[in-house]
Amino acid sequence: MAEIKWEKDVQAALALAQKAHKPVYLDFWFEG
């Protein structure tokens, strides 16, 4: 499986999503 290229910035991801007509998978995580 190809390594996932994660976006870090939500607003940048949404701009990409609009351009690509794709949904967004948003993962909120905590380095505990």
Partner: protein, 141 residues
Amino acid sequence: MQEVFIPVKSECFWDKRTEAMKEFNISWTPTLLVLDATGREHHRVVGFVPSDDFLAHLKLGQGKAHLDRFRFADALKEFTAVIEEHPMAGVIPEAVFFLGVAEYWNTHDPKGLRRAYDTLVARFPQSEWARRAGPYAQIPL
């Protein structure tokens, strides 16, 4: 996953909540959201889920996004994929329920709702989704 979704990881800081945490009302991690391209939320999962459940949630979320936008044929494909490709996933009862809803909207034939009820009662009788489908028991097949 990248073929279908734009994947985003947003780190949380409890001592100083980020703008994204505030915007999406994040109160626990991990929290997984499926958003459409306009940023509207269609599905949320709070807490860890194993990989097969995770993939099922993504497809369920995609199906709900289609359903919310009245793209019923696309929604049907996603809910069917959840049920067929992730038969052990915890979201199956929810996918069965929404498959019935999508079938109804796609055809305006209420039999899809009744089939969803029958499946839920037969396979997942303890599920809340079986109870939610209860009113569809009256629909004749």
